[in-house]
Symmetry: C2
Subunit: 186 residues, 2 copies
């Protein structure tokens, strides 16, 4: 994923502890680059039946990974109100970028049971959304087959949070530090 | 787009005047179907430099259309607060599915100037979001080269709202009526 690393270093902007890559990933998106990332993640994650992500910024990576593997993807919806828990899997998470709390929901019927599902997202940072998606898969009677991220930040605790569950993680690019506004990539 | 019409009739659910296609389009998504829709829309829309949509449900169609044309796409963000108008194009719209008002925003620097831009979205219904995106393109000093929709409902006023501006519209599937819970496709 040399091209992805190059793009992060060229176009990434640092705002406090956030890396903003909105010129090719999560506001303006380069579909050719994302297709390459999706192929890379699909190969690393092995066999799976479905991809799960959360709206909105996870959708391009989930689309690309699912397309490469020939399977569907689901994007969990973010709601400002709680839906019927008989019909939906629901978790409450806080958003570090937008602020406030939100409910992430998946309509149960769409997820099915007994499948191997991977979670794909644009960023692994604190890992709260990823953990919630992983728990929803396990609650649903499906198997969590791993996590794939476009960019992982190693210094914000996300990997250790997910590894406590025994979950497998693949990241196409790894940011090891941000010091004085400079991004260091593994 | 015979396959798309068949999927709408097989899997679409009617809830009052809404057609819910969340099993293959806008909650669970079939990337192979969406790639076909994107190729169809890209061919119909002709030459363009960039695709614009709004998060989150427009992203799969925008991704596919942009990928087919070899260009980037931008998804306008939905915010619950107003951003700095010096840095962002901003419109306030109401959401018929989620309720309430929201600000849709595009960071100005990402849009550039002097390009041919198409707007792509999952549904043309009342057309308010599409109109807002079209106005933002014209405000930005770019040219609006047309609209592409996965599904158009002809009985909710969206087409006439956009045609008042003289804008061109392509839709991969057209729903002409919903009567007694039955969907009729053109």
């Amino acid at each position: 994923m040399e091209e992805l690393r190059r793009r992060i270093l060229e176009a990434g902007r640092v705002e406090s502890d956030l890396v903003i890559v909105d010129s090719f990933l999560n506001h303006r998106t380069d579909p050719a680059l994302m297709s390459n990332v999706g192929e890379w993640l699909a190969e690393r994650l092995g066999d799976f039946d479905l991809v799960l992500t959360a709206e909105a910024s996870g959708i391009p990576a989930a689309f690309s990974t699912a397309r490469a593997a020939g399977v569907d993807f689901i994007y969990a919806k973010k709601q400002n109100r709680q839906l019927d828990p008989d019909l939906h899997f629901i978790r409450q998470v806080s958003s570090p970028t937008k602020g406030g709390k939100t409910w992430i929901t998946i309509r149960k019927e769409l997820l099915g049971v007994g499948r191997d599902i991977v979670v794909v997202d644009d960023f692994l940072s604190r890992g709260r959304t990823a953990e919630a998606l992983g728990e929803m898969i396990e609650e649903s009677g499906n198997r969590l087959a791993g996590f794939g991220f476009v960019i992982e930040k190693t210094f914000t605790g996300g990997r250790s949070l997910l590894e406590k569950h025994g979950w497998k993680i693949e990241s196409a690019a790894i940011i090891e530090s941000i010091e004085s506004g400079r991004i260091a990539i593994a």
